[in-house]
Every structure is written in structure tokens, then in C-alpha cells.
Amino acid sequence: MNANPLSELPQHQLPISQPRYVGQDVPRIEDPLLLTGRAEFGDNIHKTGMLHAAILRSPYAHARIRGIDTSRAEALPGVAAVLVGAEVKAQSRPVFGIPEGWTGHALAVEKTHWAGEPVAIVAAEDRYVAEDALELIEVDYEPLEPMVNALEAADGKGPVVLEGKDTNVMYARKFTFGDVDTAFAEADLVVNEDSRWHRSAGNPIETCVCIARWDPFDQSLTLEGSHRSPLLVMPALVGALGLSPTQIRIYTSPLGGSFGVKTFARYVILLSLLAKKLGGRPVKWTEDRIEHLAGNSSHAWDRHHNAAMAVRQDGTITAVRIRAMDDFGAFGEWLGVGQIVKPITIFPGCYRIPAYEYDCAAVLTNKVPQGPYRGFGLPSHYWVLEQLVDLAAEKLGMDRAEIRRKNFIRRDEFPYTIPSGNVYDSGDYEAGLDLLLEKADYAALKEQQAAARKQGRLVGLSVVTSIEPGLTGTPMLGLLSPRMFSRTSSPEGMALRMDGFGKMIAQVGFPWGGQSQHTFVRQILADYFAVKAEDVQVVVADSSTMQPGMGPVSSRIAVALGGAVVGAAKLLAEKLGRVAAVMLEADPGDVELKDGAFQVRGAPARSAPVPQVAGFMLARADKLPEGVDGNPEVSFVWNPPDHYLADEQGRSHYGVTATSAVHLCMLEVDHGTGQVEILRYVMVDDCGVRLNPSVVRGQLLGSLAQGLGNALYEEYVYDDQGQLLTTTYMDYLMPTVMEVPVVEEYEQCTPSPVTSLGQKGVGEGALHTTPAAVRCAINDALHPLGVHIAEAPATPFRIWSALQAAATSP
């Protein structure tokens, strides 16, 4: 840990002697408006003549639609239009998704695929009338047998979800890296576990909102609302509606959370078609909470695992096998299926595991289709892997921390290429572990645990690790669809303009959100040009004016936008430098930017402050050098370095940075109720240079809360008819401030050698680590009774049931 890690960086790229903003707890620009609710969120938007939409949803998980009668709804005063599946089918193609061909239309057409699938949409004067109208639509359903059992779906049994398919297996692939069979054959010890990670997902405070307007005169579509990133929605619209991108304009509003769920391609298509039918009147749809829980492609990760680890007597891990089968729900919409393959990008975690096999599949069932969720499929992977490490340690009689230390990738091995091809940029896992054990006083905790056990208390301890890839590139998506994703670019762009007073406008392509992306743009630019933070305004472009960019997904913004900001600043400095050379009567090659002024190398007294140069550039066209226009403005698009298409085995340099984390959890299980109480939680995180430490802490604590949700609370429960039973927050339980423990958080800093300022991605954070930390500690607590929990969430009922079973078994 270092007070100013930035200044020691070899690639320290800020032309300032002492950064004043980068690396500091600079207050977030986003806070005042977002936290007081004064920001113009999607649902605050009102347009002249605007109508309100409500959606009729299938009550059945699987049913044939024999007919729809909308006449009574259309006759209700205040109703402007009703749209049904047949019209949607005639006017659009199925919702975008990879692998191709595993989705339906934006409205159910011949049959419904999950309870909650949209069947019709109404536009009316207000939402009340729109919902009244829904009750007047008569749908003649013929219920069909629902497919609710993913294991049967994988085995080819039972009804088929998608018309025209003869299987429910949407994607299946076995990846093998290294000689797994030999490693298992020669292992001293093999541990294995079958486990079940139940459905859960992101639940932002603000749900999805879309306002659509079709302009019948110039045949164009305008969308506004809670879209997290216009260029992620655009392809879905273009593909489904057959419009050219020049006919579509997407504006984004500040977000009240996203966590991956704010793409909602299906609804954007649906609203666009409704707007077209309305012929000019704007129409708004605000997802209500039940729709969010039961109707959007908003669930994630519903996995069955079979896992095994081969170990030598001395604790060396030689191979791992994981079979992961994901109950994906009704469709493979958008990029969601990518979540099942992502584990290969970090498969061995922090460890030197020379051989592994990942046998993965995504199958369709009549449930809510999955979509992306923060972590994009990795949290369940660590939840499996780290438990295997604990099982091995226990069998070998090794300490859990020591077995991990033994297998860590060592600090002198970076950049480290894992067998599946990804490259970890830098790290020092052993130092992180040492810091954790020291801060937590691990030896004392072990004694406390031993003392508690003597009193019959069920106290458990865990130490677990994870790697968070900062930006996972498009080559991973190429594994699902080589046709659509034979690409290596994952761009993030920025346009940057300076006025004659040195004030800057930085334009990004995505809206305000809780992750403070706009704040750090300001921090970097203010340090780069040595101006005040307030002199930098960050503005949001719409789809037609933004630079190419994917926005805040995949823990990429610090890495990607961080690269774009520095890249754009450099370009602007170069451009200004050529003008400064004229002013200083020096050779452009001799002029450099330093501490807010251009100066002549070797003669620092000859200098011109940045604002003066920008002012000159705007005012004195007669003096501009050849090839320089009179406009201090540039744009720059960053792309990940060294990305290449995956090879036949599935190897690629998938990520950019590798953030490491090591967590310690101590908890107690109540024997009588099965409840878990966290006694101590300590974490160490190494995400390189922290551009804004308080923002990093916020990311870590928020993601810890979500990880705790996965570990103990959150689960979408279905009955055997495919009905979702958890459709309100009375039953879908997220931890509140009362449940989240006080966490001790310590910082480690191994700067990334590949990013602009040494930063690494940490946007997904503790969600990777906390589920594993909590489960391993629960199993440690239950170990004396011979009880083991292999389900997430580990609900009190599950724990109690396992304790009962152990107590009554002979």
C-alpha cells in the first residue's frame, strides 16, 4: 500500500507532478442529483400527448394461444391502441440473442413460453385505464405441459419449449485445457461435490423505463428511458425492426441502478412497434415491480454443478473438473447465454491449476428467460471452486489458508497465462493473504472458534479468494456465435472539447449511474491539464452523437473509459502542443505539457498555460500551423490491447486486468432455527490503483450485500407448474442494512501494467467472493456434525433440514 501509487508507476501518464484528484476520495458528481431523486429519471419524463402502456402477461408457463379478442379493450374510453402477437410477428423478427435462433418475438405469437410472457400491450391515456383494458382482453389459452425440470430438459425428456426445435439444449460445450484425465488418474486425493445454485438476480431501485415515439414524416424512431448503453440496444432494434441505425435515436436517462438488467431488448422492440402503430404519439412503459420480478429477462444463474478436484498429498491442486448446467428459462435473449461460458476466462481463480475441464450447458425451460447480472456467471463458479479447495484441505488436514498459499500464482509469474488462454496482468496473492490474516488475527480467530466449539456452538471460519476480470472482451461472445462475434474490439470512446478559458466538456456514451464513472472522468482530466475539477463537465451523448462504446458492463469502465480519457487527453495535448510551438516559437518536438502549461524542453521559463493556448487556437486562425484546425477538440476510442479471436480449443486473451480478492468470514449457525449470524467479515482487495478509493469501497460494499443475498437470501422459486412463487419483496428477499454485517476492508495495490493509470476493474467486486466465503464458513461450522450445505442460498430452512437429517440418521 502506498500513499500515491500513481507516481511510482512506470506508465504514469499524467503530465502533472502531484496529482490532486486521481487517487483521492473526490466527492461524486452524481451524488446530489441521484441521491436526492432530483435527477430526471426515465419515469419522470413527460411528453406532450404521451400515452401509457400496460402489458398483458401469460398466466400459464406453457400454453397455446388459440385466439385473442381485443375488441372490448379497444372500445374502452381512453384506450388508443392494442397490439397483439400476430402484428408483432408480421412486423418484426425475433428478439436478438446468441447463439442465434433461441428466442421468440417481443409478444407471444402461437404459444406462451413462461408465466409472465407478454401477450398483448395496450396504450391508453393513463396507466390506470391501460390496466383496466388488460382485464377486457380475452385470450383463449390451451394449457400445455410445462417444462420445469432442467435436468430432464438436458436429458432430452419432456416437452420442448421452442416451436420448431427438437431439443431444449440451447448451448453445450466441453472445454478441456491440459491433461485432465491423467491428473485425476494420478491424484493422491480426489474430492467432489454436487451442488445447486438457485436463481437470483439484480434488483435496481429504478425498474426499466422506455418512452418511444415514431415520427411518421421522416420515418424515424426516438427512444428515451433507462437504457444503460445505447449501442447495446441499437443492434437489437436494427435486427428486429429492419430499420437503419440512422433512423433510430436513443437517449439515456440517469439510472437508479442497473446491475446488468437494463438492456431489456424485448421491451424496447415492443414499445417501438407500439409507437409505430400509434403513428406519432409518444408512449411510455414503466416496468412495475412485479413485472420486474416475473416478467423481464431479469433472472440469472440457475445452475446444477458436478465438480471434482485432483490433489497431491502435499496440497498441490493438479486438475479440476466442473460440469455446469444452467436452467436458462424460456429464451436465450441478447448476450445472456455468455454467462455460462465466462468461467473459462478465470477458471483456476488465483491458483496455478495446470489442467481443467469445463463441461457447460444452457437448457430451456418454461421460466423467465435469464439475462445478465453483475458478475456475469462467475460468482457461482467461485462458490464451487473454493468449496472444493476447502474439502481438499480438510481431507489433507491442511489449514485452509495454507493450501491456498501453496497453490497461488506467484508474484514473479506475471503476466500469467492460464491454460484457457487468458492473461492475468499482475498481482501478489500471497501478500494479500498475509495482509488479511494479519488484520483479522487469524490465529486468534481459530482459537475463538475452538473455544466456541467446546461449548457446542456452531462457529465456522473461511478464507476464500477470487479473480475479477476487468473487461471481458468480445472473443468470449464469439464462442457462442462465431458468425456475429468474429471481432476483437470492445470499444469505449470519448469526445473532448476545450474552450478558450481552458474549461472542458467530456462527452461519454452512457448515462449517470451509481458507479461514479463521470466523476473519475473529471478527476483524470483535471489532473491531466492541471485545472480545477469543476472546470470539467461530463455530458452524455445520445446514440447518434456518441463515440463507439459499450458502456458500463463487464467491470470494464475504469479500464476502458480510463483508457479512453487518457487517450483523448493525450490527443488534445498533442494538438494544443503544436499550437503552443507556434506561440513559443519552438520546434513542436521540443514542446511538452507539464503542470498545466506547455513549455520548451530544457527552458521551462518559456511556457504558455493551457487555457492561453486553447484561446489562441480559437482566436488566431491566421497563426495556426499547417494541418491544425482552429478547434481544440478530439475524439478517441480505446480498445483492449492484444485481444484475438478464440482458438479452436476455446483459448483467448479474454480480459484486460485481473483484480484479486481474499475474504475472511466468521459466522455462527443457530442450531435451533438454522439462522446464520456473521460475526466477523474482513476483506482485502487488489484492484491496482484506486482512482477514487471511496468509490471502490462503495462498489465493494454494495457487491458484498448482493453476494450475501446469493449466499443466504435471494431465490426465485417456481412450483411444478412453472409458476413463480416469489413475485414480491415479501418472498424474494434481498438483505437490507439490518442484515449486512459491518465489514473491515483493506486495500492492496499491485498496479496494472496494461491500463492507463494502473487501475483494474472492480465493478462487480465482492459478488465473486462473498457467496463462497459465507458458504465455506457455514460448512466449516457444520462440519463437526457431519453436515454439508451444497445449495445457494443456504436458507435457515435448508440448514435446519440438513441438521435434522443428520440428527435422525443412524
Binding site: G672, Q675, L733, T795
Partner: protein, 296 residues
């Protein structure tokens, strides 16, 4: 999530209120704090044609002393008064302790005490407390007033003996038996959730603590209404409050329960929870020198 159309009345007096209820009968619903009714309306699970908002009715918002050590609580008194109102805190501190388990502060700031009783959710805290403390409900209608003991008030899940034309105007909690020490325990998945199971227990013992003089025991969240274990209460009298006596009492009090299953657990689990909590609550009564031992 928008309610269907309804007619809205905001009467200022009790006589106006009961007149409106008399006129609309079955189609009318009283609106108090709205914390249970509004979600039902918005989800279109309840479809009253008339809402009678009692929040502006005069003289329903008071807490007054009632008898020796008791309190009478009006229909629009909010749940937050349970741990804020001096009369209540002074006379029935167990209500204050237990009320911390009702939802969250925002909910307690709007939700009413009488509304919770009238709503009769079997997992709610207040109905169980009303039964354990032998409260009386005052129901008013155009034809007069009825006073109903809590033991007869709750019929089943979300069902009471209140007629559609009646409004619950007051609940009266008598002063608790002298020397009784109380404990309130419940298990919910998160702080503020409805209980999976809960218990209100009271014990008084002889001066030297060697034998039980009186007991109260009500479990909730495990049947259609709060369940008072009267036979167990009677059987405890005269016994020493040892672990084995209390454990047997808890087993007996919960033996016949057959709670329904839901997404949070099976019926057997809830019954076991009720039993575990009952033992712990009785032990807490035995050991406490204050009034209650809050725990989750």
C-alpha cells in the same frame, strides 16, 4: 399495479363513518394506514367499490390510560406510538419491545395498531399480543357498539368477526397481571419481515423463584390465528421453572400445530421453530429482570 376504479370517502366523524359503511356494506373497505390495503388494491387482489378513509375522523387518534395499568388505543394511532407514546411505554412496555419487529420505521409511522388487528394476518405481532394480554376490541356500527374479547375476535387467516358495516374504533389492553415477566421472540428471514413463527410468553414466579405462579403463552405465524396454549399455561402453575419443565411445556404447546408450508420453509420447520422459540422465550421470562428479551 394500479387499482381499479373506486369511490373515496373521507368522513370527519364516527357517525358519518358508520353511516357510509351501513350504506355500502360489503363493497366498502375502511382505509387506515394503508400499509396492507394499498398493496392489495394495487395488485387488484382487493376490489372494494368504496374506500372509507378514517384518517381524518376526529377523536380516534388517542392513547389513554385504561383501568389499572392498561391502555385504550384509538383506531388511527400509529404503530410507532408503541415505542414512542409515554403512556404506552410506561404501562405496557412489552408492546414497545414487540413492535420493533413490525416491518420498518416507515411502515410503523403509517400503519395503525387497530389496522393490524382488523387485518388479522396470522404472522402479525399485534394480534398475538392482543390475545396474550387479553385485550378487548371495540367495534362500532350504525346500530351501536360491541366489545369483543381478543380470544373471540380472530377467526382465520385475514378474517375477524367484524362485520363489513363495523369499524374497529378502539383496542383496550388491560393492565397485565402483577409480577409477570414477558418475553417476545420471533423468527423471520430478515429484520422486519413477517414472522415464520413467533411467541409471546409471560411468567410470574413465587418470590424465591422456585415455582410458577401464572403463565401466558401464545404462538403465532403457525396457524390461521394466534394460538393460546391455555392448557399448558394452567399446567405450568405450581411447577418449578426448570429447563425440563419449560421444554416439556413448549413441546406440549406446539404439539398439535400443523402450519402451512411456503417458500420459506415446510410446516414441520415452522412447528419446530415455534417450539424452539417457546423454550427460549420461557427461559428468557425466567431469567429476565426487565420486561422482555428481544431476539430474532
Amino acid at each position: 399495479m394500479k387499482p381499479p376504479r373506486f369511490e373515496y370517502f373521507s368522513p370527519r366523524s364516527l357517525s358519518e363513518t358508520v353511516a357510509i359503511l351501513a350504506e355500502h356494506g360489503d363493497g366498502a373497505k375502511v382505509l387506515a394506514g394503508g400499509q396492507s390495503l394499498l398493496p392489495l388494491l394495487n395488485m387488484r387482489l382487493a376490489r372494494p367499490s368504496v374506500l372509507v378513509d378514517i384518517n381524518r375522523v376526529s377523536r380516534l387518534d388517542t392513547v389513554r390510560p385504561h383501568g389499572t395499568g392498561g391502555v385504550a388505543i384509538g383506531a388511527t394511532v400509529r404503530q410507532r406510538s408503541l415505542h414512542g407514546d409515554p403512556t404506552l411505554l410506561d404501562r405496557l412496555p412489552i408492546l414497545g419491545t414487540a413492535s420493533q419487529f413490525i416491518g420498518h420505521q416507515q411502515i410503523r409511522s403509517r400503519g395503525t395498531i387497530c389496522g393490524s388487528l382488523a387485518h388479522a394476518d396470522p404472522a402479525a405481532e399485534l394480534p398475538a399480543l392482543a390475545v396474550a394480554l387479553e385485550a378487548e376490541m371495540v367495534a362500532s356500527s350504525a346500530s351501536g357498539e360491541r366489545v369483543l374479547p381478543a380470544a373471540d375476535f380472530f377467526v382465520d387467516y385475514l378474517t375477524t368477526v367484524l362485520e363489513p358495516t363495523e369499524v374497529l374504533t378502539e383496542v383496550r389492553f388491560p393492565g397485565p397481571p402483577a409480577g409477570m415477566r414477558w418475553a417476545f421472540l420471533e423468527m423471520s428471514r430478515r429484520h422486519g419481515d413477517f414472522a415464520l413463527a413467533g411467541v409471546v410468553a409471560g411468567l410470574s414466579t413465587s418470590d424465591d423463584g422456585s415455582s410458577i405462579k401464572a403463565a401466558r403463552l401464545v404462538v403465532f405465524g403457525v396457524a390461521g390465528t394466534p394460538v393460546r396454549a391455555s392448557a399448558v399455561e394452567a399446567a405450568l402453575v405450581g411447577q418449578p421453572p426448570t429447563d425440563s419443565v419449560l421444554t416439556d411445556a413448549a413441546a406440549e404447546a406446539t404439539r398439535l400445530l400443523d402450519p402451512p408450508a411456503d417458500v420459506h420453509g415446510s410446516g414441520a420447520y415452522r412447528r419446530a421453530l415455534a417450539q424452539t422459540l417457546t423454550v427460549r422465550a420461557l427461559q428468557a421470562c425466567r431469567e429476565s429482570h426487565g420486561t422482555a428479551e428481544p431476539a430474532t
